[in-house]
Each structure stands twice: as structure tokens, then as C-alpha cells.
Symmetry: C2
Subunit: 65 residues, 2 copies
């Protein structure tokens, strides 16, 4: 499976937000994303995408100023 | 491998931008993304992420108004 783990980068550290993320979708223009994993769990992540590395199965978010 | 194909959605149709994308990174706050595939090819995509579906290996971009 090709899902990825989502992390929030804070002070240079990666805090796990959710494992096995399948879907990432922006929420309507309010600077957040809805993520959903393969188990159907959902979270709203306030912030922006900092980097995605699919081969490494990583999605990094960061807070916007 | 868990790379994905990137598409631009235009008038409801998906136009292939790049295959086998590994890295996605926002360009410095100018509303575009740098994408790179597993072969080291790079493109700058003007627009925003519309949807990512990792299990389906799809990244959809759309133009911003």
C-alpha cells in the first residue's frame, strides 16, 4: 500500500498527526487540509504543506504564520 | 514504489503533468509547487492542490482564479 504518514513540523521536529494517510484535500480556502487514512479516520489540519516525499511515505505540514 | 502521477484538472478533465512523482514542495509563497519524479525530472506547477489520493497514485492540481 502506498499511503503515507502525516507529520506537523514544529521547531524542526516532526510530530505524527496520522498514519496511513490516503486522501489529502484542502478545506475551502481557510488554510487547512482534511486528511483521511485507509481506516476512514479523518482530521482537519490547520497549516500548509511543507513537503511531501511519497517514496519515503511522508507528508510534512507546517503552521502558517 | 509509491510515487504518484500528477494531473492538472481543467474543465473537469485530467491532463497528465508528470508521471512517477516523488517530491512535492511549495515554491516560496507564489502559489506554485515544485514537483520532482523518481527520474530527477522537475516541473514548476502554477496552481494549488485539489486532491491527493495516494492509494490511487494520483495528485490533482487546479489553477487558482
Amino acid at each position: 500500500m502506498c499511503e503515507a504518514n502525516a507529520y506537523m513540523v514544529k521547531d524542526g521536529k516532526e510530530e505524527l498527526l496520522m498514519e496511513a494517510v490516503d486522501l489529502i484535500e484542502p478545506e475551502d480556502n481557510n488554510g487547512s487540509y482534511r486528511i483521511m487514512n485507509i481506516f476512514g479516520e479523518q482530521k482537519i489540519i490547520k497549516g500548509r504543506i511543507k513537503l511531501m516525499n511519497l517514496v519515503a511515505h511522508k507528508i510534512l505540514f507546517e503552521r502558517t504564520a
